[in-house]
């Protein structure tokens, strides 16, 4: 791709400024950084009550968009980011895990039992984790494109099975999935009712779950586990020969990604109250993947930002009515042309991608590691 010089210059200066900012941020004392983070997170809780200027959603409720779309997409993108961004495994059937989580909650709370939502949540997470392990065990021996194809098939199998299963309600799906119980805080006489009337409680619940997930993922990232994933992503053969049990850690990445996907699915099922197979199309896998790639593969902040853009973007430009997905698509293409590493890239991941791009591979090219070059020279 050849850009005119002024574009390159602008890009350079933007990058420089960003690096300066992040360096300054790192230099701030820990206490100041924590304080700023707390303020920021606190504001996120107030977002549906006091949205910043220009951030709104014409024709639909802002809180509703946050709760229905943004929170779910962010969770799914965080989970998929573990698989795609951290471990470098291309998964095109991620919606399958999301569906497993949603259906588990639906079956246990409405379809065939009447557990409260909260009780179904751990089962939904566990079930999607099991699905992840079941899919991963035979398929994680495959690499790159082959893995992508098998996972794509998995996503479709889940949807079609649900469509054909009477137990899961067939094409009509499962209805009257319960909301979480209302919370009443007596001191300030404040009712937190999860329901269709007010979307804010769901947003707050989702935001809290996201914060917990980010906290846990950061721990993984900064431990031996994150190191092992990076090593696998960069050179799987060398990693295995340096004592990394690559299969085990790839399977963990799959299981953790699936668990978060199931969590998102369970939350989604409870929010909208009814699900059917049409809620889990292949397109959703692609949108989740777009969120990860657009935001910056391998970076938690990037995955969050990408998910927000993907989910909030089309709602923001509702004025364009049915042309909005076209406009949105054009914007995505432009962003990816000018910033292939994503909006908030993981520095390391961006360099890996740039390197493979030099070698003629695509954006996700790193997922096909170079053929074994261990042979005799």
């Amino acid at each position: 791709m050849i850009f005119p010089p002024y574009v390159l210059r602008i890009r350079q200066s933007v990058n420089d400024r960003r690096r300066d900012l992040s360096a300054k941020w790192q230099q701030l004392p820990r206490r100041v950084r924590t304080f700023v983070m707390v303020l920021l997170v606190g504001y996120l809780y107030l977002l549906p009550i006091a949205p910043p200027p220009f951030v709104r959603t014409p024709e639909v409720g802002f809180a509703g968009v946050l709760a229905d779309q943004v929170v779910i997409y962010v969770l799914a993108a965080l989970g998929l980011n573990v698989v795609v961004g951290m471990a470098g495994l291309l998964d095109l059937g991620y919606v399958g895990f999301y569906a497993v989580g949603a259906y588990t909650t639906a079956v246990l709370s409405s379809g065939h039992a009447n557990w409260p939502w909260l009780a179904t949540l751990p089962v939904a997470i566990a079930a999607s984790m099991v699905a992840g392990v079941m899919l991963g065990t035979p398929t994680l021996r495959l690499r790159g494109d082959y893995l992508a194809i098998v996972t794509l098939g998995f996503g479709e199998i889940i949807r079609i099975s649900a469509n054909n299963s009477n137990y899961l309600g067939g094409p009509r799906g499962i209805t009257s999935i319960p909301h979480p119980p209302s919370i009443h805080i007596p001191v300030v006489d404040w009712h937190l009712d999860f329901g269709v009337l007010d979307a804010k409680p769901y947003y707050w619940l989702g935001l809290t779950i996201i914060i917990i997930v980010v906290f846990l993922l950061r721990r993984l990232e900064q431990s031996r586990v994150g190191r092992a994933w990076t090593a696998i992503r960069e050179d799987e053969d060398a990693a295995e020969l340096m004592g990394v049990p690559t299969f085990k850690f790839k399977l963990w990445a799959f299981a953790i990604g699936a668990a978060i996907g199931g969590l998102a699915g369970s939350l989604y099922a409870s929010k909208i109250g009814f699900i059917n197979p049409d809620n889990f199309p292949f397109l959703l896998s692609i949108l989740f993947l777009s969120a990860v790639v657009l935001g910056g593969s391998g970076n938690l902040g990037g995955a969050i930002l990408g998910a927000v853009v993907i989910s909030y973007g089309p709602e923001r430009i509702r004025n364009f009515s049915d042309k909005r997905y076209f406009v949105f698509g054009v914007v995505l293409v432009i962003v990816m042309v000018f910033r292939p590493q994503g909006l908030l890239p993981n520095r390391r991941r961006a360099a890996e991608l740039a390197h493979t791009a030099d070698q003629g591979a695509g954006i996700l090219g790193e997922m096909t590691p170079p053929a074994t070059e261990l042979a005799d020279g």
Partner: protein, 261 residues
């Protein structure tokens, strides 16, 4: 007889119809520096690949520390105490030098996903001690100043050293070095030779592939020679130098002399 640490017993390695290794039996004794030499394509790196589990031998057995390791998983072989470097450098390019070595240290780490999620005290200690021992290894190899640079950005010679540091980090009993001095000038080569001896004196056994006879002869206790997948000689450096078969393998033989393959 000295203690046999690594033993290839009649190993044959075939790819299609071609024998990369043909009935090769060599051994490495504890505490020695053994050189593995031979012309290009002789099967030296194939020996490394068979030993480290990259290839499973078509026939024969590989024994390490008295137990067969043929067919075992690669990372388990590493855990048992065999570590290697690569002929064409295979570092994790975007990880820092320190992280590269820490991946090696992690070979014996007990932390997995649950431990990292809960961040138990032992996890934190393990992380810290792995960082410390990685740093020590970088110091030992003389590249501590580069600890926080991405491996890709290190000068070539440092990358070679970093590979050795990463391999040593897995606490091996035997270190397999695949042409560690490739591309070095004579001064760098002799410096590396010194370093390899120091590594041996620290208690590592070393199996070394090297083309440069001056390096091999000066630091190895014993040398094995491969030629077209066959083991043709074994002995002290002085013996190898004067071995007729070795000279023929390296310099070629008059066309009437037949080589049975």
């Amino acid at each position: 007889m000295a203690d046999r640490l690594l033993e290839l017993d009649a190993v044959t390695m075939q790819f299609g119809g071609i024998s990369a290794l043909d009935d090769v039996s060599i051994h490495v004794d504890t505490g020695e520096i053994m050189g593995l030499i031979g012309p290009n394509g002789a099967g030296k790196t194939t020996v490394f690949n068979v030993v480290t589990g990259v290839y499973h031998p078509t026939a024969g057995d590989v024994r390490f520390d008295g137990r067969s390791i043929a067919g075992e998983k690669r990372y388990r072989i590493t855990k048992r105490g065999i570590a290697r470097t690569f002929q064409n450098i295979r570092l994790f390019p975007e990880m820092t030098a320190l992280e590269n070595v820490m991946v090696g240290v992690d070979a014996h780490a007990r932390t997995s996903v649950p431990g990292a999620l809960v961040r138990l005290p032992f996890t934190r200690n393990e992380e810290k001690s792995s960082r410390d021992s990685a740093m020590q290894l970088l110091e030992f190899m003389g590249i501590a100043a580069q600890a926080h640079n991405a491996a890709r950005n290190l000068p070539y010679g440092f990358q070679r050293r970093l590979e050795i540091a990463r391999a040593m980090a897995t606490k091996p009993k035997i270190l397999l070095l695949d042409e560690p001095a490739a591309g070095f000038n004579p001064a760098e080569k002799s410096e590396l030779g010194q370093l390899i001896r120091t590594i041996r004196d620290r208690g590592f056994t070393v199996l070394l592939i090297e083309h440069d006879m001056s390096v091999v002869v000066s630091i190895c206790d014993r040398i094995s020679v491969l030629d077209f997948g066959k083991h043709i000689a074994d002995g002290k450096p002085a013996e190898i130098r004067n071995n007729q078969k070795v000279i023929e393998a390296y310099l070629g033989v008059p066309s009437d002399a037949s080589r049975d393959s």
